[in-house]
Symmetry: C2
Subunit: 649 residues, 2 copies
């Protein structure tokens, strides 16, 4: 109790952004405006001040951002993340006796009280600051003299309130009174695509022009203009590696494959190679690199699917037997969910004594494809591999190549999904696939965007995948496909479709399962890419709207509007930086026309409650004059949604 | 990457109870059952296990509490806090290969699969455990042999599922696979009165039998049987120190005191002494100690009011001028809220260079009264003194005398109120005084009992204080006094009344202020203690009900019931340990009869939805047979509430 610690009266708490008390960095993207905030307060009635200090890992010095009071002891400062990689920030608060004095002086003067003693106190404050701040000493003493020689209370008050004094004393804060929050938090800045991307998934082997033939990367190149025209910027393939021949699955996941069955691309590896090889029928590495290059001309990135598991004939099994679990009968332990057996898939044993080499080899798979030009990876079932591995691997890869994006394909329990985000995955699949009612969607979006999740879990909404044909699409047909597409594409700035079946409206389930029958996972398909569909038309329009409206480039900027009908959902998306604002209204009823009164949260649009404004439907082109309360009516057979752009009058 | 850290697959997070990430201890009381919980999970499909370890500061070894799975990866363990002072706890989780194997074996066996290899795996598990656990080696190897020699699958499965093997392998967990949560959290155990207390506030100077005379401690002794009969167990006095004579306030807070005005007891200190002295007209230290002793015979504790501030004639001003702020004109800075001045009160300057001695002296005030026999302190305006001082002072006092209870009298902003709780205050005044509607009460109770606040902020509900006559009491008269009393006494296990004016229904405000006119703070009153009032009668009944029903001894055990009328509030209070359950129904409408259907949350009562049960109104004596949905009707002029005790049929 001999230092000055007892004098530090300011308390700092609830610092944000913060993930698990600072254990993980908060995620933002390049040029995003990040609000740094904290509760800062002091006993008694003294004025206080607070600052955030921020520094990029590549910088030597901290930049001070003065914080402003918001409400209820909450303070914030905004900074624009202008460099990729890691920033750290810390928070400082202090008692500001000069401001306390200045405000009191003004009130006493205005109340007609004698302020002679108050002006002397001001002189003391300036002289004390002068004594403690050599580099401002002269000017502070000069002001003290001016204050002493003030010829009238008016003059004294005028000097006291001068901005120059305030600015200088802000710098000359009394060091002994500064409280520093003891933890430094980290922010990771990723490239914009981590937050805004539009995915199309197809099986390259189903792209041959001639029915019955195995498609190749060269066939995919021919489809690139079509994918680009529809507005997609990520083209994602299931695994492209050699497919296991031992215990290969046949059509519809049958246990025995016929001689012509191509097998599931997720059963990885055979005598021709493993995770660093290409399935020979798709083409060569040179073909693949040519595809990546050609895609980039269309502003499309190729996303690879990495499934860390092996077919029984994967070379790893012989080369690194210590990475697998061996059964007492001398066989390798296959995947199982007793009594079910998955004998075509061997998982890695993450508890192997040789775990460090296993980790290195698995990372080298990513390095290999990064070297080939890939920057986007969809990771299959990450929740069945050790969390610590992901945190290490993603960290190492991104340290060298920060543009790399990892999408976590985990459809599992909430804590697991969350942890994968914290471990570093840049995007994550979500429960959106099964969130259908207005209440479900509003609650889920609130959880994703208004809780701590907002800083570590970046959603990517998929209405379907090769594994999942949800009841909504089975039962709702074409209209449901359109509604679910519009929701995915406007609720979340990252979204994707398992494309061909979606745009062609294929929705026949495999018996009572929520899966596609005759699944492309186990057979080669042939699609008529030239056919026009209503779904495809709307996908194209919606993707164009997404591209042109920056309000759809973020997932966090959503606010729901009240509606008088539970079948009508309405939300506002706004981009403060550009002023771009959209109002989206969707009829969730797949079969019936629905109408509602919607109540727009006007402050979010920066428009007064009584101020009329124009909305232009970017889907239909129609224009309306709107206010706070508006009537809407939507026919799902015509167009189940409005995507209104807000135009001020 | 050369150790075994990569093998640790279990993740532990969201550990509770936890206050600000472990920065402050969580508060419980003696013999309280504390739930220790965490999210514990692992990648993949392996079974896991988790344990909490707990240790009192006075103990050398940790006690293991196996945790059980609750829901969604959440695990918990319950421990009973049987010692005062500090416990710490930590959490461990591990992959449990034995249980994974056992469950798989059972399923495979039941599905009729060949389990020969599975049984061999069991042998390996037992042999591995034997190799790692010298002290269980013999028995583990014996079991391994039994398993090897099993003569049929049935026999093998029977051996595998034996409880003895499970119990031993639970102890023999594989050390390399254990994840330990890196932070140890603290729990502070206080005496039961911290959580369950019933306060009566009176001014000792107003207790003389003869009108016009100054009351004494001896007069208070005569009132003790009455206070006890009404069911109060804390008798709290405003400050009992000598009252300042310089700038003394007169009646109704007027700036000039008449010669007979006694002054405000919160203007502390004069030529006869300060915070360690007794106002001579109240009696001597011997009288005070006699009062404490006599009160204890009635199971009443005397609570003192400590206001760390000085009248201008307090001895500290001359003895320790360095503890005050001095103005350039040579006067001490008085309290102010410009342009208002409070010239009868001098605050301490917590930024003094001599802060360490100031802290010691202020603590010595508490030590002095603890030595005199006081164990309960109400601290006046703690939010105008440094938070770090409180944390140090309360910690030091309770280290020596853990029974001491400090009540924080802060009616200020939420973050400030919260921080005082974290700093160590055992009880806190609340916003209850202004929470009147059903929505307000339900939201406030939810915040207090279902958030992190539950672990650091222990509410004490006061319908009134000498400083506060809220609008509800001004406008609602006798009925309002009864309703607010019942709410305070049944919502919160700690509650108190500024007694005489409350029981006598005095509610005349000072002009438009929410304060009593002719306030006892500035003058001596004379009360007719013998008069019967309806309010006093109900206070007595309610306090008896509180004492006899353990469901009212905790604030945390509340669940609200839905009602069909916003004027009718209904909540269930249950004590799991004793099975005591109450249903409280209150009509919030002060002037009109109201009725409603109430929907009881049956699982909270441990009664089935279709099971009838009896409720007995402890206020009126009436009995009813109830179910999940029930009709109630309450007339505020008769009795505005039911306090039902639940009796199973």
């Amino acid at each position: 109790m001999t230092d000055s610690s007892g004098k530090k009266r300011v308390i700092i708490t609830n610092v944000f952004p913060c993930v698990e008390g600072g254990k993980f960095p908060a995620k933002v993207v390049l040029n995003e405006e990040v609000t740094l905030s904290a509760d800062v307060f002091c006993d008694g009635h003294d004025e206080i001040a607070a600052s955030a200090f921020i520094k990029h890992d590549s910088e030597q010095t901290w930049t001070e951002l003065p914080m402003v009071f918001v409400i209820n002891d909450h303070w914030d400062a905004v900074f624009k993340a202008q460099k990729m990689g890691f920033y750290e920030f810390r928070i400082q608060g202090w008692v500001d006796h000069y401001t306390t004095w200045k405000k009191g002086l003004k009130k006493k003067y205005e109340a007609g009280q004698d302020i002679a003693v108050e002006l002397q106190i001001g002189v003391e404050l300036l002289e004390q600051a002068a004594a403690e701040n050599e580099n401002h000493k002269a000017v502070l003493l000069a002001w003290a003299d001016q204050l002493k020689q003030a010829e009238s209370p008016e003059q004294g008050v005028a000097i006291a309130l001068s901005g120059a004094i305030a600015a200088t004393l802000y710098k000359c804060r009394h060091q002994e009174l500064i409280t520093e929050f003891p933890v430094t938090y980290k922010i990771e800045v990723e490239r914009k695509k981590a937050a805004f991307s539009t995915w199309y998934e197809l099986f390259p082997r189903s792209t041959a022009e001639e029915p019955g033939k195995h498609g190749t990367f060269k066939d995919v190149i021919k489809l690139l203009p079509r994918v680009a025209r529809m507005g997609f910027d990520v083209l994602y393939f299931p695994p492209i590696h050699p497919i296991g021949e031992v215990n290969r699955k046949g059509k519809n996941n049958s246990l025995t494959a016929g001689p012509d069955d191509p097998g599931s691309p997720w059963a990885i590896g055979n005598r021709t190679g493993g995770h660093k090889a290409i399935h020979p029928q798709l083409g060569t590495m040179r073909d693949f690199k040519a595809l990546i290059k050609e895609a980039s001309k269309h502003h499309i990135e190729i996303a690879m699917d990495i499934a860390y598991q092996c077919a029984p004939d994967h070379p790893y099994v012989k080369e690194h037997p210590q990475w697998f679990k061996w059964r007492p009968d001398g066989t390798v332990q296959y995947a199982e969910n007793p009594p079910k057996k998955y004998e075509d898939i061997l998982p890695f044993n993450f508890e192997t004594d040789d775990w460090a080499n296993l980790w290195k080899e698995l990372k080298s798979v990513i390095d290999f494809w990064v070297d080939a030009g890939i920057r986007v990876f969809r990771i299959d079932n990450p929740h069945t591999k050790a969390f610590r591995f992901w945190q290490w691997m993603i960290g190492e890869v991104r340290k060298k190549t920060p543009e790399v994006i990892f999408l976590a394909e985990a459809f599992t329990r909430p804590r697991i999904m969350e942890r994968l985000g914290k471990a570093g995955f840049n995007q994550s699949y979500t429960y959106f696939t099964w969130r259908n009612t207005k209440k479900e969607i509003e609650e889920y979006m609130t959880e994703l965007t208004k809780t701590e999740m907002r800083y570590y879990y970046r959603p990517n909404f998929w209405p379907n995948t090769p594994d999942i044909l949800p009841p909504a699409l089975i039962n709702g047909g074409e209209n449901a496909h359109i509604i679910r597409l519009i929701l995915a594409a406007t609720l979340s700035s990252n979204y994707g479709l398992y494309g061909p079946v979606y745009e062609f409206g294929i929705n026949e389930p495999h018996g009572t399962k929520e899966e596609y029958v005759d699944n492309e996972k186990y057979e080669i398909k042939h699609w008529n890419w030239a056919q026009y569909t209503r779904i495809g038309e709307i996908i194209t329009r919606v993707n164009k709207i997404r591209k042109e409206n920056t309000a759809l480039h973020s997932t966090w900027n959503i606010d729901f509007a009240e509606t008088t009908n539970d079948q009508i959902i309405c939300y506002v998306k706004t981009d403060a930086a550009t002023g771009n604002s959209l109002i989206i209204v969707v009829n969730l009823d797949v079969f019936n026309m629905q109408s509602a009164q919607v109540k727009i949260p006007m402050p979010k649009l920066n428009i007064g409650y009584d101020e009329p404004y124009v909305v232009k439907d970017l889907l239909s082109g129609s224009k309306y004059t709107w206010g706070e309360l508006n009537f809407v009516e939507l026919n799902p057979y015509l167009m189940p949604a409005h995507i209104f752009k807000v135009e001020k009058l």
